[in-house]
Amino acid sequence: MIPLSYYLMFTGALYIIGMYCLATKRNMIRLVLGIEILINAANLNFIVFSAMWRPGFIDPLAHAIVIISIALAGCVSAVALTLVMYAYRHYGTLDIQELRRLRW
């Protein structure tokens, strides 16, 4: 069995990668992907924990949460990508750092 700590380190790393992506990447679509990575970190955590209670038992609550979460992530991505499309129409670029007209 893979110890729980390995899984937790992995999801932790995923979370950090997601945050890193949001903090450094300039392409707007990459930012949307960063959000996805963050959500996946949490989803994976749920799945991992669902199997840790008793050997052979998987808690359905966690899986239910994950399925809903994936669906919600899909909605968020849809809205986000629509906004990216409109942003491209207005600004002509996908670089988030060009969207700086609103500041101070």
């Binding site: 945050m19 903090a23 700086r100 500041r103």
Partner: protein, 594 residues
């Protein structure tokens, strides 16, 4: 006492203020005269409470308000509150009568009468309140009215700015007051005066001092004492009636009322009293010197008000029932003569069209009634016998002399010096405006006396200035019910040293001023030029640069910090997300450390 008088005395003006827009729809004059009527009704209620208070009756009537905080709405009928209520309502009524003439033809009068009535109601509510939080609520309400009325002529940006400055500076004091009130509530579990008196027995001295000093901070703001006095001279942008009512006779006395009330509620620590006396006497002296150089007639009166309130504070700081009484006696005298002086100033400004004294002169022959009433006011202010200012101010000086010790002596000297300067600037003001030759642009019937609706209140106040000095004995009897054991001075003791020193001070201040401004043996300009005198002149003219300092620190300083903090919002999303990450880590660190 008329039925429900303690409630109606302030509820009637507030109801009146709410009716004002409706009355204004019917006819403007209806609104104006009804405002006066409401104030008269209010004074009737106030005066009706006087007999009961005079014989020692007192009452504390309450209604539940916020049960969660065990907060009640209540009124306290005792000598101090009834005394203040009478002054506020009576002078308020006179000033509203005067307003009918003074403000005739102005636009926005509905707003004017709305806020004037709200102010009168609020101020009376403040003095009748039986608990600190209610007092604070009315305290803020009168601050709001003051702000709205100073900025009445909003088309002048200076007026709007002056209103904002007044509200913000007084709010600094208000915030201290709130902190003091809440801290007292924390330790005593109640806001009501009567309960605090019992609960305060169990409090230690440092808590009481802190609370008292915080509350004094509020008084310093509202009463324009040092260091929060900078708003009052600018507040003269408002109409003269506003200056008379709010900034001379009543609202600025709210701080004095608060300190006086606190004196009756809990024991005052020695350090606190010293602070009050020091602030009061320093303010009195400094403000009187600033009045010497002011060029705007109302500004002179504003500094004069600051100075005279300094006298009241310093009397309260003496810590004795006699000093307390002297301050209240002077409060009454000052309300009368300062309101009178402002109303006369209003009549002058109305006639001449400017507030600048350099463009006035010789108005004595054109405005005889105004001149004579103004003269009465000036003589009262200068504390010339037998006018009321003499009796009250000399009582203060006498009490401070009676305190003894180095502190008492220092205060006494400061007080007499201030009295000397007071005479000086009063004569200067009188001479510049009314004496001498009128300038060319005012000759030939251009200047006329004020209408009767304006002169009647002025004359009434002048008569009272003469008479009220002799009311010391009845007033002392009224106030003695608050101090169950001590007896209050019913007349001036003819103690040789203080009396002669103060009369000498009057001469010392009056004679040079008379020679310079009335006889003109030396042109006043000699005192404004030259290396040393010029510097002194500029120092006084700029109010010891206090205002300039505040502007640099608070306005420019805050603007600087604000500009820097704005830069945090760079508009770059990556930076925002980085901040999120940083906050996550720092919160984790902060939580794990504690």
């Amino acid at each position: 006492m008329l039925p429900h008088a303690p409630w109606l005395v302030w509820a009637v003006p507030i109801a009146g203020c709410l009716l004002t827009p409706i009355l204004a729809r019917v006819h403007g004059k209806l609104r104006d005269w009804f405002a006066f009527l409401f104030a008269v009704v209010s004074s009737t209620f106030a005066l009706s409470m006087l007999p009961d208070a005079f014989y020692g009756g007192s009452a504390d009537i309450q209604m539940p308000w916020i049960p969660h905080l065990s907060l009640q709405l209540g009124v306290l009928v005792d000598p101090l509150s009834v005394f203040m209520a009478c002054i506020v309502s009576f002078i308020g009524a006179l000033i509203l009568l005067y307003s009918i003439g003074y403000m005739a033809g102005e636009e926005g009068l509905t707003r004017y009468y709305f806020f004037m009535l709200l102010f009168i109601g609020g101020m009376i509510g403040l003095v009748m309140a039986d608990n600190l939080l209610q007092l604070y609520i009315f305290w803020e309400v009168v601050g709001l009215c003051s702000y709205a009325l100073i900025g009445f002529w909003y088309k002048r940006p200076e007026a709007v700015r002056a209103g904002m400055k007044a509200f913000i500076v007084t709010r600094v004091g208000d915030v201290c007051l709130l902190a003091g009130i809440l801290m007292l509530y924390l330790h005593t579990g109640t806001f009501a005066f009567s309960s605090i008196r019992e609960a305060a027995e169990g409090l230690d001295a440092s808590t009481l001092s802190t609370v008292a000093l915080l509350m004094f901070g509020g008084a310093v703001g509202k009463s324009a004492q040092f260091p929060l006095f900078v708003w009052l001279p600018d507040a003269m942008e408002g109409p003269a009636t506003v200056s008379a009512l709010i900034h001379a006779a009543t609202m600025v006395k709210a701080g004095v009322y608060l300190v006086a009330r606190m004196y009756t509620v809990f024991p005052q620590a020695h350090g606190y009293l010293l602070a009050v006396a020091a602030v009061g006497s320093a303010t009195a002296l400094l403000a009187s010197t600033m009045a010497l150089t002011a060029l705007d007639i109302k500004r002179v009166l504003a500094y004069s008000t600051i100075s005279q309130i300094g006298y009241m504070m310093f009397a309260l700081g003496l810590g004795s029932p006699g000093g307390w009484f002297a301050s209240q006696f002077h409060l009454m005298s000052h309300a009368l003569f300062k309101a009178l002086l402002f109303l006369c100033a209003g009549a002058v400004i109305h006639a001449v069209g400017t507030r600048d004294m350099r463009r006035m002169g010789g108005l004595r022959r054109y405005m005889p009634i105004t001149y004579s009433t103004f003269l009465v006011g000036v003589l009262s202010l200068s504390a010339i016998p037998p006018f009321n200012g003499f009796w009250s101010k000399d009582l203060i000086l006498e009490e401070s002399y009676g305190l003894g010790g180095s502190v008492g002596l220092l205060l006494f000297l400061a007080g007499t010096l201030t009295a000397a300067v007071t005479v000086a600037y009063s004569i200067r003001m009188l001479a510049l405006v009314f004496l001498g030759e009128p300038p060319s642009h005012l000759r030939g019937g251009r200047v006329h006396e004020a209408p009767r609706v304006m002169t009647i209140p002025m004359v009434v106040l002048a008569v009272l200035c003469v008479l009220s000095g002799f009311l010391q004995a009845p007033l002392a009897y009224l106030m003695s019910h608050i101090f169950h054991s001590a007896s209050l001075p019913t007349s001036l003791e003819a103690d040789i040293l203080p009396l002669s020193t103060s009369l000498l001070a009057l001469a010392a201040g009056g004679l040079p001023a008379y020679l310079v401004y009335v006889r003109r043996i030396v042109p006043p300009e000699r005192f404004t030029h030259g290396a040393f005198l010029g510097a002194v002149y500029r120092l006084l003219l700029n109010g010891y640069y206090v205002d300039w300092l505040y502007h640099r620190i608070f306005v420019n300083g805050v603007a600087f910090i604000s500009e820097r903090s704005r830069r945090l919002q760079t508009g770059i999303l990556n930076f925002s997300m980085l901040l999120v990450l940083i906050s996550l880590l720092s919160l984790l660190g902060l939580l794990l450390m504690s």
